[in-house]
Subunit: 201 residues, 4 copies
Amino acid sequence: MLTKRRERLNHELREEVLAAARELFATDGYHNVTMRKIAERVRVAPGTIYHHFDDKSAILAAICMETFGKLDKRMEALVTDRSGNPLERLRRGGRMYVQFGLEHPQHYALTFAIGDAMPKHDSVMSAGLKTFENLRLCVRDCVDAGLTRMQDVEEIAQSLWATTHGVVMLFLGKPGFPFIEQSRLIESVLDIAIEGIRKKT
Amino acid sequence: MLTKRRERLNHELREEVLAAARELFATDGYHNVTMRKIAERVRVAPGTIYHHFDDKSAILAAICMETFGKLDKRMEALVTDRSGNPLERLRRGGRMYVQFGLEHPQHYALTFAIGDAMPKHDSVMSAGLKTFENLRLCVRDCVDAGLTRMQDVEEIAQSLWATTHGVVMLFLGKPGFPFIEQSRLIESVLDIAIEGIRKKT
Amino acid sequence: MLTKRRERLNHELREEVLAAARELFATDGYHNVTMRKIAERVRVAPGTIYHHFDDKSAILAAICMETFGKLDKRMEALVTDRSGNPLERLRRGGRMYVQFGLEHPQHYALTFAIGDAMPKHDSVMSAGLKTFENLRLCVRDCVDAGLTRMQDVEEIAQSLWATTHGVVMLFLGKPGFPFIEQSRLIESVLDIAIEGIRKKT
Amino acid sequence: MLTKRRERLNHELREEVLAAARELFATDGYHNVTMRKIAERVRVAPGTIYHHFDDKSAILAAICMETFGKLDKRMEALVTDRSGNPLERLRRGGRMYVQFGLEHPQHYALTFAIGDAMPKHDSVMSAGLKTFENLRLCVRDCVDAGLTRMQDVEEIAQSLWATTHGVVMLFLGKPGFPFIEQSRLIESVLDIAIEGIRKKT
DNA sequence: GATGAATGAGCTTTCATTCAT
DNA sequence: TATGAATGAAAGCTCATTCAT
């Protein structure tokens, strides 16, 4: 009983720290966020945070893990349903990825922001790899079905990742730029990428 | 006479600070470089730097302006020389853009990254965006030459920007990821983009 | 019944804390041992220790009392057994004293070092000083047996205390100094002291 | 001009820090003295101290060096004048050493206090060795003159150091103990030591 | 313009101790 | 009695910036 309640409260504080950090990191940049600022926002003593996270970088790592977890869920749904044209599945996958980034800008930016700020945590790295694995599987289907100009699955998968990542980062990073209508640009980028991969008949 | 010499020396010191900072920023990252380190490298007292730059971020801004100036020159050369296949010119332009980003990660991040700790300087912003105009011109040539599947110059240009931006940001943001060989990935992305645009004959 | 068992368990936990602390203090130094480390070693929550000891220094005090108790027992055995040459008994006593100091550096320092950070506990103080009384008795035997050059028991006893104290403090205070082999230096000091006291025949 | 004045002020602040630290270290113990406390006493910002000393341990090291310097001066005078009985010179040396310790209790305690608190600084170590060298020379004279029971210079020298060190530490560490008159105890200890060394005729 | 000592706020992190459960 | 999350003060240290000279 007691334990359960404790755990719940515990979990809640951990989540509060995560929420505060997520927002602050995204707003002010990892380097400009102090443990004190996070603690103040959660109305907790600075030292308390260290009961839940080893250090500052561990907070960032936890946020990234979270992001990958969410992304993974959506990705798996895509891979599991293997009906239809694989190339079209790839397009849907790309569309979903971009939308995810735009719907969770704080998560996304933090997870994929400039590497300087991101301390290396092996758990995060492997979580990222796992997420990417789903994209790879999608690409493999296209290659196996003989629908692609090229045969190197890894090369294609990473190229597509770069492309979709670019759309997200552009929208997030240049909010003031006179972009064409958002969904039109997304579809255009996806179309160019798919057509760039497709085998000419 | 005296005045002239002084001016030259002043200018020289400013340049030396810039050179030292440029190197240190690129090597250690903006946040890990202290004013003292820069001053030591130039063999000058810390306070002296403040006679030439308002603050630390002003040094970075100056470096970025400088660097974007160089990029612009290269870009202009590309546009000015209108010989050869426009699509190939576009490919060379994209390649140059990506290489620039990877060679000047700190400066690139300043202009294009979000939520980072780097201070935003408007003058740098506009210098960076000016570069986009050259891309637009390049794309127009392709469309005018009837080499593209689509006709909307703005849509194509922004799509290509997103794509090249994506490659740069991916490399910068995930330095630990097991990417395939860098130049191979760059060429692959460019190839997919160009083929995705090219009109099927 | 229940009460008795509880008491025994209590006593056991107290002893376990003492044992863990004794080892940690000796290994890492009083200042480098945290309550948490002690608690972890005993597999107990940090707060639990405070049910058995007022604070950190109380643990050290308890250990010292304990240890001085043991020293006293040894010393008393020496004095009680009055067979053999009193001067040799004195030598054995000195040897024992030095060894005691070197085997329990933290406890020794608590009682005899100055200006150190260790908190002073009066009960420990008096326990330590009680030991001196045994030295005095030993010296008196030598004087009474007519084996000494001098007759002033107090003067001789205090001189011997200073000497043995010196060996201990030297080893404890200058751990990096290139001393000759430890036991050789101890024997040398004792030999000089005994010969310096002995009546020339 | 300017430089000279600066240097003098600089030197003065350094000395003030040293003086404050010396007193605080001796009073409260090295571990209980904070940089902030030192800074407050000197009426200076905490960071300022770091312009004069690398870190906290460097302050302690500087104090120790100082002590050894003073001791060295006196010791050298003793060794230089080689007239008279070497054993008596040794006695005078011991007397001087003890007096030095009692006259500079703070310096002495700090330099020879329990090793835990004393971070190892090579420069301090070598300064200590140099000081000890003078004692060694004195002992060698006695051995060479055939005045000693033993022949091992190092063994005798270290034994004597232990003995004199003991007297100092005892007086400093147990100010409340009912010692016999100070100079009488000192002379007694020295007498026992010298007679303990002297070759029996 | 150049100096460089000094500032002072701020950093991450540690830890003995408390107290509601 | 035992828990362990939380405290809160403090620690050593850093650094962009200022200002008297």
